[in-house]
């Protein structure tokens, strides 16, 4: 049985309530694809049956898993490489020059999924700085508890490793563990993973020098985008740098940011006095 309109609407409402993410009509296929493994695991033949069961008898575990399944995305290493190039060529050198020798740069990878983004940043900085473990800390957050656990573990399947990780970096920073690859202990020490719902009031963190909030805002409605950008700004240092996805901007959303070109990429910096 395909997903009924009632089931889809219920899932949409649930996901919006829990994460503020908007599932547009027409995304029924996505709901079916993402929820089928959970339905099968529960011994049910189709997604509609699973959703109807949860709709009539909601339980915290099932609703959490539905939200997580629909809010996590496949990700790759060095996704849209320019914001990473900008980090090592411009952003980190300028921040290090402005900070004291004992100050640690704090970087936030928001919506980190299974960890490719924070570990990409960690690898680049480990290769660029002689004392990266002392000078940098990376906070990686995601809505999904499962993704936070995966990031913390720092283990990746062969298929994930194939997605854009340069081979020289693979051999330098990973070891083979069974059929998976595990990121090195120093990199895992730089990265701290924790759960965080961007659409809820943000926890005390930071202050951050750099924030990667890429390919996240596109999922939210305008008031939520504005609230997220306000919250992020409150956790950033006044001379910090914000990287958004290539299809995202603060323009027309929140006028308290200045867009600046960094190499072939763009970043956003808090406007003074706003």
């Amino acid at each position: 049985m395909t997903l009924t309109a009632t089931s889809f609407d219920w899932v949409r409402a649930l996901v919006h309530k829990e994460s503020a993410i908007v599932l547009q009509p027409g995304k029924e296929y996505l709901v079916e694809a993402r929820l089928l493994p959970i339905a099968r695991e529960k011994g049910l033949g189709d997604v509609s049956q699973f959703v109807e069961n949860v709709r009539h008898r909601p339980d915290a575990d099932s609703t959490r898993r539905i939200v997580e399944a629909l809010t996590t995305n496949e990700t790759s290493w060095f996704r849209d490489g320019d914001p990473f190039t900008a980090l090592t060529s411009t952003v980190v050198p300028s921040l290090l020059a402005a900070r004291g020798p004992n100050e640690r740069l704090q970087i936030w990878s928001a919506a980190c999924s299974s960890g490719q983004e924070p570990y990409t940043i960690a690898m680049l900085l480990e290769d660029a700085l002689p004392d990266a473990t002392r000078r940098v800390s990376i906070t990686a957050t995601d809505l999904s508890r499962a993704m936070v656990e995966r990031t913390r573990a720092g283990r990746f399947s062969q298929l994930e490793i194939n997605r854009g990780l340069p081979a020289p970096m693979l051999v330098r920073h990973f070891t083979r563990v069974g059929s998976e690859w595990e990121v090195s202990a120093p990199l895992r020490r730089i990265v701290t993973a924790k759960q965080c719902n961007l659409a809820a009031p943000l926890p005390r963190m930071g202050p951050f020098d750099v924030v990667y909030l890429r390919n996240v805002l596109i999922y939210f409605d305008l008031p939520t985008k504005q609230a997220i950008l306000r919250g992020v700004r409150a956790l950033m240092r006044p001379d910090g740098w914000l990287f958004l996805g290539a299809a995202e901007t603060t323009l027309g959303v929140d006028d308290s940011w200045e867009r600046v070109a960094v190499g072939r990429s763009s970043a956003y910096r808090p406007l003074k006095g706003k």
């Binding site: 490489g81 062969q158 490793i161 194939n162």
Partner: protein, 123 residues
């Protein structure tokens, strides 16, 4: 695209042709060298490791020993997945390494890393 498996050659050649590449195929390293010797020097060679006559590692070393082929980028696509094997391939002169099984996206990601993704292709 050098691989002793015709199926694998067809898959990778298909991905590359979809991106606008002109692709020639060879069944082992020696045949691959013959293509280069014949004057057809590509931007990219994708090469398997385990093949009859001349394996991928020998092919990489042979290409790297000829300055005329310095500009050729080499990507190994193989089921050899041990850390030490990847180190050997890179030390011999391969630029990238993809472990089988792989998806078309993985090939495109690697081409983007190598700066070989044709203009206009969006990942």
């Amino acid at each position: 695209m050098i691989d002793d498996s015709k199926v694998m050659r067809r898959i990778v050649a298909g991905i590359l042709e979809d991106l606008g590449y002109e692709v020639q195929q060879a069944g082992h390293g020696r045949e691959g060298l013959d293509v280069l010797d014949g004057g057809w020097v590509p931007e990219l060679v994708c090469v398997d490791w385990n093949m009859p006559v001349m394996d991928g590692l020998q092919f990489v070393s042979a290409v790297r020993s000829n300055p005329a082929w310095r500009q050729v980028t080499i990507m190994m696509i193989t089921s050899e997945s041990e850390h030490c094997q990847i180190v050997r391939a890179l030390a011999a002169g391969a630029h990238e390494y993809v472990i089988k099984p792989f998806t078309a996206d993985a090939i495109r990601d690697k081409l983007a890393l190598l700066g070989l993704l044709p203009q206009g292709v969006v990942l």
